[in-house]
């Protein structure tokens, strides 16, 4: 029997930001119920579920809110790729015809401030943290500084990327940061990790996203499906530049993002020139710039002209992070990757309102990247 085509038939989101009195799990349930309503089906119709959170408990606890239907519900824990990994698992279960209708959900509620990490849990020696190097922000600053040196990216472009994010966030009712910030304010804000300032970094946050996915033949009547063409995960190879590395190899290798993006495009059977809209990991301004090249959307160094000419704006030739990305939404880790897919579905349906990419976009790429060197990419088509 041939593989089944897989479609996304419902999307639901609980707004990102800070929500006093609402747990991560409760936000996950709200997103799940919204996705089910959008798909035109009910929780008992779901015959497989995958979900994850990093800081807000076991996703399968959602059954106590959604209903005890006996559904097989798998908890997924894969850092920043938790959402992408959940979607990949559901994709495989559906295309191999093990089930008909699946729910994918991610949620989180992180404490304020930078993510703190325990060296022992990551296989790192204690001295690394004692010496003041166990900070993700340093990695972002250093990877970016080298990239700017090699490919002529300027600090103006960093500020422009952040300003775009907040402008797009202003047009996204589910975003956290909805107030435009000028490039001057962004450049002059507190320097966290040179060349990156406070407003060039995303912050830990709260939020939830859920998707209802189906075999194409099982899409609920009246739903508005988009096709999930690929979901690909890659981990790091020797020689990549990753967070929390006491040393780096003297030979360089391509980032896992390169392989995840290539794999997702190949599986989808689309070329990068066909991408109409892209959501890519923008933990900080420079990440968006470097990931544009790592995903193949442009060549190394071409970002400067693309960004400064407005090509990556909502109405540009290569719209990137149309919902404001991590910069405007913050990063609830378990939900962040699925937020990108939510935005791509909304764009392909033509439902994005004030931030709608013009010209009926048909092909959308999403890309997450995270510690300790993992990337997940998906392609969806109208």
């Amino acid at each position: 029997m041939p593989e089944s085509e897989v479609v996304i038939v419902g999307v639901g989101i609980h707004p990102f930001g800070r929500h006093e009195g609402l747990s991560g799990l409760e936000q996950g349930a709200i997103a799940a119920q919204a996705a089910l309503a959008d798909a035109g089906c009910a929780w008992p119709d779901i015959d497989v579920a995958y979900g994850g959170s990093v800081a807000s408990g076991a996703a399968d606890s959602l059954v106590s809110i959604l209903g005890l239907t006996g559904v097989p519900f798998v908890n997924v824990a894969n850092g920043c790729a938790t959402g992408g990994s959940s979607l990949m698992a559901a994709f495989d279960a559906l295309r191999s015809r093990q089930c008909d209708l699946g729910l994918v959900v991610g949620f989180d509620k992180h404490p304020r401030g930078a993510f703190n990490a325990d060296p022992a849990l990551l296989g790192l020696p204690d001295w690394y943290a004692e010496a003041g190097m166990m900070l993700t922000t340093q990695f972002f600053g250093m990877k970016l500084r080298r990239y700017m040196h090699d490919f002529g990216i300027t600090e103006d472009a960093l500020a422009r990327v952040a300003a775009k994010a907040f402008r797009n966030g202003e047009r996204n009712p589910n975003a956290w940061r909805r107030k435009p910030i000028t490039e001057e304010e962004i450049r002059n804000s507190f320097v966290i990790a040179d060349p990156l300032t406070q407003y060039m970094f995303c912050a830990p946050a709260e939020g939830a996203v859920a998707l209802v996915v189906a075999r194409a033949e099982s899409a609920p009547a009246g739903s508005r499906p988009v096709t999930l063409r690929s979901a690909v995960l890659a981990s790091r190879r020797h020689g990549t530049f990753e967070v929390f590395s006491p040393s780096l190899s003297s030979t360089r290798a391509p980032s896992p993002s390169v392989f995840a993006a290539q794999g997702a495009l190949e599986m989808a059977g689309v070329s990068v020139s066909e991408i109409d809209v892209a959501q890519i990991q923008d933990t900080e301004s420079g990440a968006e710039i470097m990931h544009m090249a790592e995903t193949g959307l442009c060549a190394d160094g071409d970002q400067e002209a693309l960004i400064m000419s407005g090509a990556t704006e909502v109405d540009g030739s290569l719209p990137v992070n149309t919902d404001g990305g991590c910069l405007a939404n913050g990063e609830p880790i378990g939900a962040s990757g699925l937020r990108q897919i939510h935005e791509n579905v909304v764009q392909l349906r033509g439902d994005a309102g004030e931030r709608q990419v013009p010209g009926e976009p048909r092909v959308a790429l999403s890309h997450v990247y995270g510690a300790p060197g993992i990337s997940a990419c998906t392609v969806i088509t109208a």
Binding site: A131, G132, R146, I192, D194, S245, P246, S247
Partner: protein
Amino acid sequence: MPDTRFIDPSIATWPGEAARLLGGRCDGCAVVTFPAPKGCPACGGGDVSQVELDPVGTVWTYTVQGFPPPAPPYLGPASPDTFRPFAVAYVDLGSVLVEGPVLGDPSSVRIDDPVRVVFPVLGQDQDGNDVVAFAFEPIEEGSHA
């Protein structure tokens, strides 16, 4: 009695004027990693031999740590009164790029700057011992490495 100790004796030959960082070289593929790994991250080989790293190199990339790292675990000056932004770099020592703080004015650090490894006191542990760690120090033009 408070004493002076090295932050982790397995990563350098400290004490001594000619102290060196200690890495591991894979017996199979010769890839060098710091600190010495249990197994080679490049080829998966299990036989890794201890190797002294070159004490001089050049800055491959850098950043400036703008806020005090969480303390603990950070042992350096971390209060609002004592913290000063410091540079952190990956230094190309030839066989491997090692991450470490760079002493001196953080705003003057640039890619390709020559630096040497040094072993300054980082701070004090909870028993009051001075804790020595490694760092990199810019090599002034015209001086001898």
